[in-house]
Symmetry: D2
Subunit: 379 residues, 4 copies
């Protein structure tokens, strides 16, 4: 089959690789019809992880089931499914309480597995024609028929929509509250969108890319351009000097200031100042346990200089980590089906798999207009 | 009246000061019969805050009501009451949702007020014969009659018991879980005790003072002496290598290693390593927004070098800040009254007010055997 | 002052009564500029309660503060305020945990007090020129300046909006869920509206008055006319035969079938059948502890024949009772101020106080088009 | 194999039946070493359900794995396991959110499946030498080695301990609260025990069998003999006339008064009177959707005459239904392993399988001293 293969830093190639296939009786095989490039793919692309050359990327996948293992009971050939990027067994101590992002059995020695991802198990990604899905009864979200016509909405259920939503859940965003989101990339836009869906009264988003801020503004979110104003001051000014009720971190450890310098603590400390005493912060931007290629001494070893005194003095609560997609994907799917959510508004490019290498290049350079790329592998 | 007055770093004196009195129609006046020295008093005692000389310390107070303001409706002369260390109005946006530690009206410009405390408003402390209690209907916990005979238990409801309990609430300790508490001072002991009360299956506590570890062991808590073993390894060994389900930070920014060197991030990073993926951490040890007298560059400005990559990778949730005493004091009082909690087990010394200056000296030096001092001002 | 006075069954008169005035130092006096007639006023109007003749009705009140008691600290003359229909002290065991609908001190011997309401204390209602507001710092919601121009939205914060919202909170309505609301009166419309605000994917409402169903349909809610179809079957058909995720009861004990016969268990048993196993139901329709004038033997003594076997078999959870207005009014106010909620859409009539008696007559007969009446007492 | 077979009302026989065996690749086969008789078995025994003659009873099972299906990944031959009485797939919409008592796939057309139980699917019970366990990776709780020596504690994890615990979870029992439990059968005793474990300050239990009340008293629970006093008055007297904070229903639809007459609403209405305004009630006693053999007209059709007016007036919240064993069994197992819970204290008889028919007879007659029977099938 044709697949996008990681060859090394900033090198992704289209190649022929052996077909994905059923390996366990609980697997199914999916013909991938939509697969996104994710911001976190860029960490691997840029060579800042220990991703092995030769692996297939892609953890935001949707497609049609073409073969089922002998022990699969709920999923049938012909079902259209969207696959949570976390692969989980459904049976371990973490999975059984909904903590599927920390599955204990599928990536022994670590908590959590994923498709085509550094340090998250041997599972190949879906930027390819076929994808093997382990523990299919547990991992497949069966889609309504209409999903075929509307794949760009439903494919967002694999990661980016539940990830943005998770930020708002960790921050416990309630109807009538104010929320500030740092980062207007796809995840940040989904966090702001989720805040709107949850009935927030006031949603603010901080970034400096005009196209992204414009997308946010279209849904009633207040854009704050941090290349022009202090985002903390802007938020305080709009919240009677108190700060927003809740905050979402959607940037991660490669946060950089408007002049392009990386500060892994920048958005975190801005959030601590931007959120009011008693508030909550959801952190879904990725932070790595070490970052040897960083130039910052603390960052190299996975540390960040946090304004802990201010955080504690305000009595803030902070939730972190990868989303548990399965906690949210069914309800978010209902919203799409009911026409009440159309997360495809972030899609800037829909391209054949063959254009993947080029797409990575543009997306990695944060080029104006390259918000979100959906690849279409299936012929 | 006689009172303990802060005169400057490491100088506390017994002095005659003007009697406390009713200032607002919603005040009551309390004859203080029991008032504790708190570990956080030591930050002021040591001169590491901007506490003003001439002020009366003491925020853990219990006594008898001797006069009531004209607008007071529920509290009567002769009532025995315990006063939450947080003073709160009961009416602001924070108080009305139970966030009394962040009252917006009693210390304008800051969130939260307290008796006899740096930066927490003009309210005098209770290490004195009389105490003025603002918003008395809201702030007084009326005690059962038996409390008079048993003041050392009930006075713990002012701060240390609800503070320890708050750590377990922020960490959402559930029956059957494992918990690790860093710090076996009075607050840490109360966090461990609260974990036991909540039905934890396994409670571990880390410290190096033998008398404190012994107190913990008596209630079925596993002591870990960090001057002899790595506390992280000890916890991992006792939890199948996974880490405890939940963690409590009860030390704060002056955490020091067994050799006496301060590291404001030490217990936090140990907790991140000691708690399993998906876990929660409650931080009730005090962290200040700046600490000019620290020798550490980050600490000076209130920052700590946190293992944020590890924290995020494990998907931990962290709650912080001062307890909201009123959320817990009524239920904890019920436990004392029913004979199911006797927090006075931490009391090492019960002394007249006059011995206060001496008591501060011993307590400040973390002398073996000086766990908790109750002063008895009333004659 | 001029006031609407309850004289006996189906007799409400405009009369001159002594001016309301400050009675306690914690009171304020409000010039009432908007006051609603509530569906629950009709129980009193119809003589099915033990309301005393001579009392002033009206518990949904908004106006301007014209005098403040000496112990009032936050509220000033000239403030515009909306008053929660529950009057609460802010200091008792129930108020301090947000259960203001069950205040233990303002109506001794009962839990809960209200303005102008049978069995809820001696407090006069606001269908008058002036209103005495006890414990004003706690009970007044201070409104933004713009509220004066937009009183029909803000007056809904006194009761009907938080009551509808409470149904969705008791049912824990989550984004992406399906909800069925029984009753499209003002409260039912607000429950449906709250479900929409909370991001429900599918909201259904059951009633038979066309104008009310039409109002629901305008906001994207699916109307079900129970004079034409079985509402249970309709809901099951729209939810794959499983039932809605959540349900709201917004009718109460005088529920009647399309032919006009009362069945106090009708909507409850319909809900049990309409909600899926594991679901939750919020019941905010009023049920009285006895109803001597009912013709039904069980109903007379406040009992209802509930399908308890079905309820239990499905593992349903049911929350009941009056809303705690203060839990929600601040956040719902934010939504109005931000232009994201306009609950005035239910207002059918805005009338001078003098038209009150006539308005009661029309509203009581459930006349087509009389959805919600706002009276304007102040000259 | 030898098994206890239901032959018809009040007729249970030991018989030879075909060996249980692996039927699906996700099954395991367990050699049953401990299996309890449950109070709910008596509904079947007495012929008040539509249980089919010829079926094997027994849904509280523990034993050793002797064979595993080909798709089983976590469970091995030789593992000691306790089986939740609810059988669940782990993959459906309900299971994935922890609502395993309402599994949608294992008993099509109903929510929920169980071993050897009327209307809960074709699964045979464990009162036999061998038991087939479907979806074994999900359904088996792997026990610590020590469990073999201590089976009477661990077998309680199959049903009765998590069921009692569920009552306290539905009622959200908090440390320091007061709780009243109706029914001191095995489930009621476990609800009281769970309340103690959760740190309740005051636990009361209502029954009339002296041996059961004595067991309760031994763990510090206050016994109330409803053949001697009004239980409602007793509870009110012990709670300042307010009622208990929380209540647990552990009797079910065959509740009978001290004179032996059945009233399916008796314990429910007593609870409504015994619990204070704002309280919560957990109902785990069984209620059937119909009860044709009842002599009460409402009860026949599964209805109960509930004091709904009083319930609503107090703003009570009620949770109902079968426990989701998997939500609790792992944490309760930890408590047993740590020596902090010994639920075997309810065991009155440990008997070979052959004595099962006789044991049913005694247990069904509520004979003094027959609290809980553990059968030991394996040779």
């Amino acid at each position: 089959m044709r697949a996008l293969v990681y060859e090394g830093p900033r090198s992704i190639q289209i190649k022929n690789v052996p077909d994905a296939k059923i390996e366990q009786p609980t697997d199914v095989l999916v013909r991938v019809t939509a697969t996104n490039i994710c911001g976190s793919d860029l960490h691997m692309y840029e060579g800042r992880t220990d991703m092995e050359p030769g692996r297939v990327l892609g953890h935001e996948n949707l497609g049609e089931v073409v073969e089922v293992g002998k022990a699969v009971q709920q999923i049938k050939v012909g079902d259209w499914v969207c696959l949570p990027f976390n692969i989980s067994c459904g049976c371990c101590r973490n999975c059984e309480v909904g903590q599927t992002s920390a599955c204990l059995t599928l990536n022994p020695g670590h908590a959590g597995a994923a498709y085509g991802y550094a340090d998250m198990g041997p599972y190949e990604g879906g930027q390819a024609e076929l994808l093997r899905v382990p523990h299919a009864d547990f991992n497949c979200l069966k889609l309504p028929r209409a999903a075929q016509e509307n794949q760009n909405d439903y494919v967002m259920l694999a990661d980016v929509f539940p990830t943005g939503y998770h930020a708002t859940e960790l921050a416990n965003v309630q109807p009538g509250e104010s929320v500030v989101v740092y980062g207007a990339g796809p995840v940040g836009l989904m966090a702001a969108y989720s805040s709107v869906i949850r009935g927030a009264a006031q949603v603010m988003i901080v970034d400096r890319l005009r196209d992204r801020l414009a997308l946010a503004e279209k849904m009633g979110v207040i854009p704050i351009d941090d290349s022009k104003v202090s985002p903390v001051e802007a938020v305080l000014n709009m919240t009677d000097g108190q700060g927003a009720d809740k905050g979402c971190e959607c940037v991660g450890y490669h946060a950089h200031d408007p002049r392009g310098r990386e500060h892994n603590n920048m958005t975190l400390n801005n959030l601590i100042q931007s959120v009011r005493a008693t508030g909550m912060i959801g952190v879904v931007g990725v932070y790595a346990p070490q970052d040897p290629k960083s130039t910052n001494v603390l960052a190299k070893q996975g540390q960040a200089a946090i304004d802990w005194g201010a955080l504690w003095g305000k009595g803030l609560r902070v939730g972190t980590g990868q989303t548990n997609v399965k906690n949210y994907n069914r309800r978010l799917c209902n919203l799409i089906e009911a026409g009440k959510a159309t997360p495809s508004f972030i899609v800037s490019h829909e391209l054949p798999l063959e254009d993947g290498p080029e797409a990575y290049k543009h997306f990695d350079s944060r080029e104006e207009g390259w918000t979100k790329v959906v690849l279409k592998p299936a012929r």
